[in-house]
Amino acid sequence: MNVDIALFAYLSDYQPDGKGGRGARPFALEPGTTVADIIRTLGLPDEPRVVFVNGRHAADEALLAEGDRLAIFPPVAGG
């Protein structure tokens, strides 16, 4: 199955196709894959992060489903 992955701020260097940027990329994965599995596969830095699946916060152990959009941000804020 496929999910779309979008990586923001300096995490965009870890895009699966190596091309950088923040546009969402399709990513093929096996059923039963979790957010944590993707983070490991992409080699994201071990630091706090904000993860959304389809616009809602998701935990590391959340299971991904066909067509999901996964967006990952490093620690950011503003105001």
């Binding site: 923001f8 701020a9 923040r22 959304f52 616009g55 490093p74 620690p75 105001g79």
Partner: protein, 587 residues
């Protein structure tokens, strides 16, 4: 010893008085509140003689406390009708504090409404009021240049200036504060305080601190040790140590868009198709490409450095930021997807002296009326520059919406909502609804736990836990605003316990006053208590602590979210006020 400089514009007198002992730990917002609470009748005309415009550095102003240079500007607000504190970066807070000035309090109205005055305070604390009628109508940038031309070449000074909008006493007018390079680009933007400055005939405040150093401390060794601990906490936190310095405040655009909380097309949607084009990552890349300044402090002593300068395509300085709030208000809310167009609007607001949050929201309301189309940047700029001539744009979103018959007007206590939709970020809805300041995100910034995972997590789409979150943050923020600390230190403070301890240690070492650390949060409660009591006297009731009805009835895409925090819960936010008032001996 700190003093209050009293300026009376009716008889053009100036006098000094010491800050009363009862207010010895009050700076910034606490001090502006205390002066307004005591001196300005709640039924006073905000543009009349009885209103008092107060400029106060926080308790850490003039010191080396990291991020301790914020300025509070206060008065009775012409926009909200209640007490107002608008908080700004820039150099003025440090400059005032180094001269031992706890506050400037300006009352009265000049006899000649056409007169313009410059209030100048020299480094030896001599004070003068000078007629500068020839500066009438100048934009903030031209005013800054005119001021610079009057000063000695080697001077060091900071300014507060008023643009044409403030001179016209428009209700969306803010006050420009000079940054470290002298650009008048930091703002006490909210609540129409520029109109109060205009009513008093003050075009500029100029304060020199040439030769003045940092302030002395009761215990210098302890102060330095505490500042090191505080700096360490700020630097090691991911948000204040990396995210903000790298991308600035506008890094929020993509994350709020992802969460469905980026108000778009006058709060009719929660995501914007051009979010990335106006977001912090694109902004950083563009600034670097044009040779601009991508990270600096907006005042001396800032260790976060989230400010930046936007250059035009030829590499010339255009404006600061744009900050997240401006990128949102002029961008997503108006459906303008181009940072150069946003920067042009930001520059116009900066020069005219207008609050960019209020103005972006106003232009979006204006677009919603059909007068111009969403996305029409040229039309927006023309409407902005027309100001009061053909419409009511400079008076803000509510006045504009009423004049043009718009049903959806996003205001609380007459002040426009900032850049987070309360349907998909419910905690901020509690803050917008209940804040003493009108809709104000900085009053209790629940985006921390609602969206960013700082200080815990609270589901942004659920009403659960939002009142406690907002209440705690409103109290903490009132305290930070009084100390003169930038609100962004809240990120490490929420996650790193040593940071709060360091604040307490810095304040004890600076003032020589020993007290329980719990007194810091009590200070926040006291600030909010003065504000609530003042607003009650001005006629505010629980009916004013509500969001516009459409947030409960119109579903917001993409989550089809509605604001569902109950009225009873909203009414519980300030349950501590009676007890705190009793402890303070008020009422």
């Amino acid at each position: 010893m700190r003093d209050i400089l009293r300026v009376n514009m009716t008889d053009l007198s100036t006098t000094w008085e010491p800050v009363p002992d009862a207010w010895k730990l009050y700076g910034g917002r606490a001090l502006t509140d205390a002066i307004i609470y005591n001196d300005v009748p709640a039924d006073a005309d905000p543009l009349g003689s009885a209103n008092v415009l107060v400029f106060a550095p926080g308790m850490f102003g003039g010191t080396t406390a990291p991020n301790g240079g914020r300025l509070s500007v206060g008065a009775k607000s012409p926009l909200t009708g209640g007490i107002k504190e608008s908080n700004s970066g820039g150099q003025l807070a440090h400059t005032l504090a180094r001269l031992g000035i706890g506050a400037i309090a300006i009352s009265g109205i000049p006899a000649d409404p056409a007169a313009r005055y410059a209030l100048t305070i020299e480094a030896d604390r001599s004070v003068s009021l000078t007629r500068v009628d020839e500066w009438a109508g100048l934009g903030n940038y031209e005013t800054a240049a005119a001021i610079a031309a009057t000063r000695p070449a080697e001077d060091r000074f900071a300014t507060a200036t008023n643009g044409p909008a403030g001179e016209a006493m428009a209700r969306a007018a803010g006050i420009a504060i000079s940054d470290p390079k002298g650009y008048p680009n930091r703002f006490a933007g909210r609540g129409g305080l520029g109109a109060v400055m205009g009513s008093k005939g003050i075009k500029a405040i100029i304060v020199s601190d040439k030769g003045a150093g940092f302030l002395e401390h009761a215990d210098k060794e302890a102060f330095v040790a505490a500042t090191k601990n505080f700096t360490k906490a700020i630097k090691e936190h991911g948000v204040s140590g990396t995210g903000l310095p790298m991308y600035g405040t506008n890094v929020l655009t993509n994350i709020l868009n992802e969460a469905g909380g980026l108000p778009t097309r006058n709060f009719s949607a929660g995501s914007f198709e051009f979010a990335d084009a106006i977001g912090g990552e694109t902004q950083r890349a563009t600034i670097l490409e044009r040779g601009g300044d991508v990270s600096h402090g907006c005042s001396t002593g800032c260790v976060i450095k989230c400010s930046r300068y936007w250059s035009d395509k030829d590499g010339n300085y255009k404006t600061k930021g744009p900050e997240y709030e401006t990128a949102w208000s002029m961008g997503a809310d108006c459906a303008i997807g181009d940072l150069d167009e946003i920067a042009e609007l930001d520059r116009a607001c900066g020069d005219l002296g207008l609050d960019t949050i209020e103005m972006g929201a106003t232009l979006a309301v204006y677009m919603d009326s059909g007068a111009i189309q969403f996305g029409d940047a040229a039309g927006a700029l023309a409407a902005l520059r027309d100001g009061l001539a053909d419409n009511v744009i400079w008076d803000g979103a509510e006045a504009t919406g009423k004049k043009f018959g718009v049903a959806r007007i996003p205001v609380v206590k007459h002040q426009a909502l900032p850049a987070y939709d309360p349907r998909s970020v419910q905690g901020i809805g509690v803050t917008y609804a209940t804040s003493t300041q009108g809709a104000d995100h900085t009053a209790g910034y629940t985006i921390t736990a609602n969206i960013l995972g700082v200080g815990g997590t609270v589901n942004p789409l659920s009403p659960e836990g939002q009142v406690t979150l907002s209440k705690t943050l409103q109290i903490a923020t009132a305290m930070l605003d009084s100390l003169g600390l930038c609100i962004f230190v809240a990120f490490p403070v929420l996650d790193i316990p040593e940071a709060f301890v360091a604040i307490h240690e810095m304040l004890e070492a600076h003032t020589g006053t020993k007290y329980d650390i719990a007194a810091l949060m009590q200070m926040g409660r006291e600030v909010l208590t003065m504000e609530r009591l003042y607003n009650e006297r001005a006629g505010f009731t629980s009916a004013d602590d509500r969001l516009p009805e459409f947030f409960r009835t119109d579903k917001l895409p993409p989550h089809d979210a509605l604001f569902t925090v109950t009225d009873a819960d909203l009414d519980s936010v300030f349950d501590f006020v009676p007890e705190t008032a009793k402890e303070m001996g008020l009422q």
